[in-house]
């Protein structure tokens, strides 16, 4: 039903207006309800009120107000739509939808718009011609709107650019003069955009919708590895407003590896983001995408050419003093921008496990370790030279002929040879060959079919100059010239750099036997229009090796990852972001932004108005019935403001107290144990610590003054050299606060001594997990552990001991595997044992031992105390005692008497005199 510019989508709801008279009558009949009010002098009032109460009717103005409100609701329910006169043209609809990657970021708005338009056409019973631009139909036709609506619902953006000119051609063949044309356009300008605009101008009325600046896709530009991460350039199409978003770097399995923020200032179309990532993580990055731009065009896929591989260069022991003449110099210089280089002897190199090992002739070796390295999948690049020429070894891709040949010298017949163009099965294929590269000397390969198959580069006379073959799981590449400029000037040209880079890419992928640099690239994962990786569809075709570099994305070659054997290549949607232009304004076509249609519905506004009136009516109702409305929330203020003041002044108090002055605890040394809450254990711990304090005071210069039982949740831990932590099997897990405190303590060079106190039960508990310890250490940063080695500092920090007895002497004791723990001065952050040291150390007030020991070893109590002293010394003095201060005693134990045995046995010494 249409009423002027108003259209009612559900006109039957207007029947609700018939209820108005009923509302009128009801309101007239029902007076406002009386206000209840307590009133103590009711008795006095009783005498006054004698007449019957006279009902008060609803005032007229309130009556009208309420009627208006009901009318508004009825009208709103009739779904009125306000139609602008320009769209009120009754013609069929031609709908062009850009479904390329540039629309993906704005897809929801575009589809909503399309549905609105087609729904309207359906309502008016007009036909719709629907044309999509990525893969346009040859001959679009007008179809019932219902069909178009179904087609729209099944649309999804493609990871391909729109083909505007195809649509324009198709439209040229169709008569659209009597129709309204609406073009839901994307963001980029293509070659045929103008054609399409012209074609649409033949329609009776044409309009184009473009996405707002924020909804246009961001375009990835160059990406480059840096020494401590990588940086990536991003472009955008619309430069009018500032724009900030986040770039996410994802690994192969979709794991987020890094995030970085980019922001464009107004007028700026290019910005850069730096990521700081360790090399190992950086090499795992396989995809970059902005968080707010879900489009295939905004995704940057990375392939084998990404990452900086670790390259090891073997240097000979006798490297010459003049660097320019040393063989590896040129290789190193060529590779420095593209790889992380490591130079050293073979043994040193193998420990860092590089992806590539470069072996100049000077450092020629064929040790089993190197063979093993290559067989395990390493890439060995080796260069020729006098050594190989003299005696070929086993690590060669082709058989050599022994002595090499020379050309171009004073005594030779031939001229220096140039390189022949690379063949298509060579990884160097496509590299331009400069004129000035000449080879004066080379090593000859034994001719034959095998040599031919393994040749990557030849001289113009056909003799191989670079050969390669697989070796085990790995690969060997042999340059038949030297690594330096002695035999050829290849090493001092740009071609050399490019060749080495091509080989670096091979080093990254796991080498496989099949791959020999030829064959087709098969699509492995392809991008959807929204920029997600998915399996390739049936249209996707493999790309021949030769065409890969020039391949444009198309339906047959969708953007995504392509694989050839073990190699991977990415085909990105956007190759050159600088060349893409914003679609902007086009001549002759009315341009509008998305999201205009929806506002024409008046329903929401009317309902909101009615609701507002309902609220006001409640106030009116109060007013009419004589109730005073006090809108000021006085009481709340009264309570909240003091509360807020109190919280402001009270809250910082504890921290002030903590900062003010120092804790007297810090002035004197205390030993500490962790309170477990189990009174027996705690009192034993306390007695043990007192015993240890006593022993330390009597025997060493460590003079603790007392013992503290601490609760890691509440007490500061930093003052204690170590914490004795008895752990029962039923110990419960630590709270987060306690775990954090203990982790801080360990990070701050503290040592926690865990004692499970159950070595005696080991015979039947052997090999089972200690449940209490497992729970407690769950959230602690426990390093990798090792059983105390014989030469550990703990065995010699004061006494020379090899057992660490408590009540038992045979329990194992574990410490940090890394003896040179960073910033900890070699002190292990945990010591874990089960000997119940507390029992060994504990003594009562009369300095008498509290607990009977098991007598696993002779003089066990004394040895236990000695361990306690060593422990305290170790925690306080670190690796100070790991040097040779005990050399004399050690040598003496070895039985060499001539070194003046001053001390007849292990003896206490004053630790601070050294």
């Amino acid at each position: 039903m249409t009423l002027g510019p108003l259209t009612f989508l559900a006109p039957l709801a207007l029947l609700g207006l018939l209820a108005l008279p009923l509302v009128w009558w009801l309101l007239r009949v029902t007076p406002p309800s009386p206000k209840r009010q307590p009133f103590p002098p009711l008795r006095i009032l009783q005498d006054v009120i004698t007449d019957e109460e006279t009902p008060d009717s609803t005032p007229l103005w309130l009556l009208l107000f309420r009627l208006l409100m009901v009318a508004l609701i009825a009208i709103a329910l009739a779904r009125p739509v306000f139609l602008a006169p320009e769209t009120e043209t009754n013609r069929p609809l031609v709908l062009i939808i850009d479904d390329g990657w540039d629309t993906a970021t704005n897809w929801n708005a575009a589809i909503e718009e399309a549905e609105n338009l087609v729904t309207e056409a359906r309502r008016k019973n007009f036909e719709v011609m629907l044309a999509t631009t990525v893969a346009p139909a040859e001959m679009p036709i007008f179809a019932p709107a219902e069909e178009a609506l179904r087609a729209i619902k099944s649309l999804s953006p493609k990871a391909l650019p729109p083909a505007h000119s195809d649509v324009a051609t198709a439209l040229d063949n169709t008569d659209i003069t009597g129709a309204n044309a609406v073009w839901l356009s994307g963001s980029i300008l293509t070659a045929g955009t103008d054609e399409l605009a012209i074609a649409l101008n033949t329609a009776a009325h044409s309009k184009r919708l473009v996405p707002a600046g924020e909804a246009k896709p961001l375009l990835p530009g160059d990406i480059e590895e840096t020494a401590n991460g990588f940086r990536s350039v991003w472009h955008r199409l619309d430069t009018r407003s500032p724009r900030t978003t986040e770039i996410t770097a994802l690994g192969r399995d979709g794991q987020v590896l890094a995030r970085g923020d980019i922001s464009f200032a107004p007028g700026e179309s290019r910005t850069e983001v730096k990521f700081e990532l360790p090399a190992e993580l950086r090499n795992r990055v396989s995809l970059l995408r902005p968080s707010d731009s879900a489009s295939a065009g905004s995704v940057r896929l990375l392939d084998d050419s990404w990452g900086r591989p670790l390259v090891g260069i073997i240097t000979a022991a006798r490297d010459s003093g003049s660097p320019l003449l040393s063989e590896p110099f040129y290789t190193r210089t060529a590779l420095t921008p593209y790889a992380d280089l490591f130079t050293g002897s073979l043994d040193e190199l193998l420990t860092v496990n590089p992806g590539v090992i470069v072996m100049p002739d000077e450092a020629r070796t064929d040790t089993p370790e190197l063979r093993q390295y290559v067989e395990d999948g390493g890439l060995l690049i080796r260069f020729s030279g006098p050594k190989v020429a003299k005696r070929p070894d086993n690590l060669l891709p082709v058989r050599l002929r022994g002595e090499g040949r020379e050309f171009g010298g004073a005594l030779t017949w031939e001229d220096p040879q140039m390189l022949a163009p690379f063949e298509s099965n060579s990884p160097f294929f496509g590299l331009p060959i400069p004129e000035d590269v000449t080879v004066t000397r080379q090593i000859m390969a034994e001719p034959g079919a095998r040599t031919d198959a393994h040749t990557w580069a030849r001289l113009q006379d056909g003799s191989p100059i670079v050969t390669s073959s697989t070796f085990g799981n790995g690969r060997i590449v042999l340059f038949h010239v030297t690594a330096g400029p002695e035999w050829s000037n290849l090493a001092i040209g740009g071609l050399y750099v490019d060749m080495l880079r091509r080989m670096l890419e091979m080093a990254r992928s796991t080498p496989s036997r099949s791959s020999d640099g030829s064959g087709n690239w098969a699509p492995e994962r392809v991008l959807t229009g929204f920029g997600h990786l998915t399996n390739p569809g049936i249209d996707a075709r493999p790309i021949p090796e030769a065409e890969l570099i020039d391949t444009e994305i198309s339906r047959q070659t969708p953007p995504g990852l392509y694989r050839q054997g073990a190699r991977r290549r990415a085909l990105n949607v956007v190759k050159d972001p600088e060349s893409l232009k914003d679609i902007g304004k086009l001549p002759g076509v009315l341009t509008d932004t998305y999201g205009q249609t929806e506002k024409r519905s008046l329903r929401g506004i009317l309902l909101a108005l009615a609701l507002l009136m309902l609220g006001i009516d409640a106030l009116f109702a109060l007013f009419v019935s004589g109730r005073q409305v006090n809108l000021r929330p006085r009481r709340i203020h009264e309570k909240i403001i003091p509360l807020m003041l109190v919280s402001i002044f009270i809250a910082p108090l504890p921290s002030h107290a903590a900062e003010a002055g120092y804790d007297p605890e810090a002035l004197e040394l205390h030993l500490a144990y962790i309170k477990t809450g189990h009174s027996g254990t705690d009192s034993l711990s306390e007695a043990a610590m007192l015993g240890l304090v006593d022993a330390l005071n009597r025997r060493t210069t460590i003079e603790p003054v007392g013992v503290r039982g601490v609760d890691p949740e509440t007490d500061p831990l930093v003052y204690y050299p170590f914490l004795y932590f008895p752990v029962k099997r039923d110990a419960s897990a630590l709270s987060d606060v306690a775990s954090a405190a203990l982790n801080d303590y360990m990070a701050g060079a503290g040592t926690i001594v865990f004692d499970t106190q159950d070595a005696g039960d080991q015979s039947f508990l052997e090999g089972t997990t200690h449940p209490g310890l497992a729970r407690i250490t769950e959230n602690l940063d426990i390093p990798r552990l090792i059983e105390v080695p014989e030469d550990h500092v703990l065995t010699k920090s004061f006494y020379l001991i090899q057992v660490f007895p408590g009540r038992w002497a045979n329990g194992q004791v574990w410490v940090d595997r890394n003896v040179n723990g960073a910033a900890r001065d070699g002190v292990s952050s945990v010591i874990i044992g089960s000997n119940n040291w507390a029992a060994g150390w504990a003594q009562d007030d009369d300095n008498q031992p509290l607990v009977d020991l098991e007598r696993d070893i002779v003089n066990q109590r004394e040895m236990s105390l000695r361990f306690g002293v060593n422990l305290a010394m170790y925690a306080l003095a670190g690796n100070y005692k790991s040097d040779q201060v005990h050399a004399a005693a050690l040598v003496e134990r070895l039985g060499r008497q001539e070194l003046q045995p001053r001390n007849p046995g292990p003896s206490p010494r004053n630790g601070d005199n050294e």
Partner: protein, 293 residues
């Protein structure tokens, strides 16, 4: 429960702080009591133990304290302190009608009555008088601890009407705080009963401003606060009844004040929107003044 009394206590203390300690005149012993001195500190008639002294032949034999005398050879007589302090009994009406205020800006009538009574008790006790709450306190007290006790009672007391019938010593003085909205005849009966004991006192009449002005408009349904047997009253146009009501209320006040003046009980009217100082001053003047001698 305890915070509300604390709040009222603080209010009352600050109110009383502005007044000099004032001794209520001792009506009954006016002839022998030096002005303003209350602690007699000497033996005499009273209820509190003062001292044991040796038996004198002039003493009556029945005054000998045999329990004390049995411990030695001499005979002792038990002297009580000569008590001349006035005992003031408070009663604060706590019925539902009192526990009401017309606006959150004013305290309830009950609260205001409590505060005024506490302030008065504070002043009186500072001057050495002994105070109690009728039907609630076991015996009159004085001093700091007594004030605490009386204040607590005043704050949380239910203030039941039948407390007025409980036993009080003769010649005590009373402070009765209520809205006196019941019929003046009822109060005449009660006051006459007190006067017959004999006991006299001061009446503190607390009025809410709405009770005086009747500011209501429109359709009203008025009821007595809390549970009551009084029927609810519906008024179609409350503003029309305003003039009549005011007249009636005023008449009620007049009858009340006439009646109390006749019986010799000063009536002090306090409206809760006014500061309580004025009422406190009036209460003091009434307690110390000539009119209740």
């Amino acid at each position: 429960m305890l915070t509300a009394p604390l709040h009222q206590r603080q209010e009352a203390e600050s109110l009383a702080a502005g007044y000099p300690a004032l001794l209520a005149e001792a009506e009954r012993v006016a002839a022998v009591v030096a002005q303003g001195v209350h602690g007699r500190r000497r033996p005499g008639q009273g209820e509190t133990f003062w001292q044991y002294r040796n038996y004198h032949s002039s003493d009556q034999a029945n005054r000998i304290d045999w329990r004390r005398s049995a411990r030695g050879d001499t005979l002792y007589v038990r002297d009580n302190e000569w008590e001349v302090a006035n005992t003031i009994f408070f009663w604060r009406d706590g019925t539902d009608g009192m526990d009401w205020t017309s606006s959150s800006k004013f305290p309830t009538k009950k609260n205001r009555a409590s505060v005024l009574c506490m302030a008065l008790a504070s002043l009186l006790m500072r001057a050495g008088e002994r105070c109690a709450v009728i039907g609630e306190s076991d015996h009159p007290r004085s001093g700091r601890a007594g004030l605490e006790e009386v204040s607590l009672r005043l704050a949380i007391s239910d203030g039941l009407t039948h407390n007025l019938d409980s036993d009080i010593p003769a010649h005590t003085r009373l402070v009765l705080a209520s809205d006196f909205l019941e019929s003046p005849d009822v109060w005449q009966g009660r006051l006459a009963g007190f006067s017959a004991r004999p006991a006299k006192g001061v009446l503190l009449r607390i009025i809410d401003p709405a009770e005086k002005q009747f500011p209501y408009k429109g359709r009203m349904q008025l009821h007595f606060p809390g549970l009551s047997s009084l029927p609810e009253l519906v008024i179609g146009r409350a503003e029309k009844a305003r003039e009549d009501y005011r007249k009636c209320f005023k008449a009620h006040g007049t009858v009340l004040s006439d009646m109390t003046r006749r019986l010799g009980w000063p009536l002090i009217t306090h409206i809760t929107d006014q500061p309580p100082n004025i009422a406190l001053t009036l209460l003091f003047m009434a307690l110390s003044g000539e009119q209740i001698l």
